[in-house]
Every structure is written in structure tokens, then in C-alpha cells.
């Protein structure tokens, strides 16, 4: 039996893109499969390069190295580890916004 898939809509600097993403698939990977190239380095949910902001819907993170309740409260997501749990809309390219958010809360902000 195939896994359930959800519609993912990304607001990128190059415009809006949408594609399907399986519930067990990382959104970054699904975007890549659909030729949407997003920034990322570690692919471990740590470096914040892939950061996005959840505008609608819910996601679950797959064992991110560092993801804090404060991040979730501000709707920041790590696309390299985030999996959709509903249809979602996400603003991409939020790495510096998320680093500044982390710095303001005295939380780790790699590359900042």
C-alpha cells in the first residue's frame, strides 16, 4: 500500500511552486525531485540553511539535530527534515530570519 501524499506549496524568491510529497518524505527531497532547488547544506536538521516559515498546514520533523519549541512557536521549519502532515504552504529561504530568531533567544545558530 502506497504512502499518503500531500500537496506542498512553496513561496520561493522565484515564485510559487507546488508538488506532491509523501508523508514519509522530506519536503526538500520532494522539491528536488520536482526540480525545485532549495538551499541546504547539512541535511541533518542543524545548519538552518534550508529554513522555511510554515504559512499553512502542519509538518513533522524527522529526527532533526536541533529544533526547539521556540522554533515551532514561530512557525520556522527545517525543510531538509520536515514531512507534511496536511496540505502545507511554506515560505522558503528563511535561513537568516531563523538565525536571527535563534540569536535573539540565545539558541544555537550555526553560520551566524
Amino acid at each position: 500500500m502506497g504512502q499518503r501524499a500531500y500537496r506542498v506549496e512553496l513561496d520561493t524568491p522565484d515564485g510559487r511552486r507546488s508538488f506532491d510529497c509523501g508523508e514519509g518524505e522530506h519536503i526538500w527531497n520532494a522539491a528536488h525531485t520536482d526540480s525545485v532547488l532549495l538551499p541546504a547544506i547539512c541535511h541533518q536538521g542543524r545548519c538552518l540553511t534550508c529554513s522555511g516559515r510554515l504559512l499553512e498546514g502542519t509538518v513533522e520533523h524527522d529526527h532533526p539535530d536541533a529544533y526547539f519549541p521556540e522554533d515551532e512557536a514561530e512557525s520556522y521549519v527545517l525543510l531538509c527534515r520536515a514531512m507534511p502532515r496536511s496540505e502545507v504552504r511554506i515560505r522558503t529561504h528563511q535561513e537568516w530570519e531563523m538565525r536571527n530568531h535563534r540569536i535573539a533567544r540565545d539558541l544555537p545558530a550555526p553560520y551566524a
Partner: protein
Amino acid sequence: MATAETVQPGDVTQRVGVEVIRARGVDVDKLIKMLVANAAEFASTYYYYTILRMNLAGHEDYKEICEDARLEDRAHWELIVPRIYELGGHLPNDLKEFHDQAGCRAAKLPDPPTAVNILTLLLESERCAIRSWSAVCDMTFGKDPGTYDLAAWILNEEIEHEAWFIELLAHERDKKSIPSGHFRRGEPGEAPYSKNRGFYNP
């Protein structure tokens, strides 16, 4: 803002070596942050790989390969730290602050510490290093030959390390042969591409 041409004779507040690469389009501040983050990974890796190595008893071949990776990551640390200072940057004075800057997951001993779990961890650590040094190469290619050369040497060895751990994990977990092309280092942690200053760092 100074340029390579306008740095005044005797001025120790500006660096021609920085301004020439800035003029070629390198975001020097961002580059320094990336190098500090990558240096933090090496410091962390050297520490945690020491523990991983200690827990590979009974797998002496794996232990020796882990030792090569451990020592070569130390060589990478010593290769890149001087470059941070040459560019006008510095290491954080606080070790926790430094550790938090690392862009890759700390290679903490897995639970349970089986050979498969340790090799999996080693493999993913090397993969993260490849990604982070590829980013430095992309940022400096054709613009900052000094940093690029260092990053490329390091990247070559991280790619070798990945191949080693693919080979060992495939053997240990999957009973498969996926040769890495590994030959024994002339000495443990020889770092054939990146070991600089052999006299200073014997």
C-alpha cells in the same frame, strides 16, 4: 571602503589579501562564518571520533580506519584555522559558543554502540563534511584561490572517508562488497592532500 589598491602603506587595519578576494565577489564575512562553523565541526569530530574509536574493540580494522579519519580531521582543523585569522576572523573565546556554531550534528556515541551504528554515524558525519566543504568550494571557486585550495584538499579527504565508511558499513551490515579504493595510509592519519606544515604538525 578600502580596496586592494587603496590600502595605505603601513596600514595594519586593512588587508590586501582580503580586499582582493572581496573585489572578486567573495562575501568575506560570510566566508569567515562558514570556516569557523566548519572548524567547529573538526574540533567536535576529533573529540567524538576518539570516543567512537575506543568503542570499536574487536573490530581492529574498523578502529584503524576510524583513527585515520580522526587524525585527518585534526589535520583539517590545523589547516583551516590559520586561514580564518588571515581573513581577519577569529575563533570564539568560549568553547560552548564555538561548539554551537558547528553546522553538522555532533558524532556522539550511538546507543547501543554496535559496529553498525558507529559506522552509520561515521558515514553520515563524513557526508555532512562533504556538503559543508563543497559549499566553501562553491563560494570561493575562481575568486579566492587560497581558501579554495585548502577547501579542495579537505574535500578530497572527506570524500575518501565517505568511501571508506560505505565499504565498511556495506560489509558489516549488508555483507556486501563495495570497495572504497582504500590503501593503507603510510602512517595513521597521513592526510595525503591536506597535511600542511609537516615540520610544525608532525
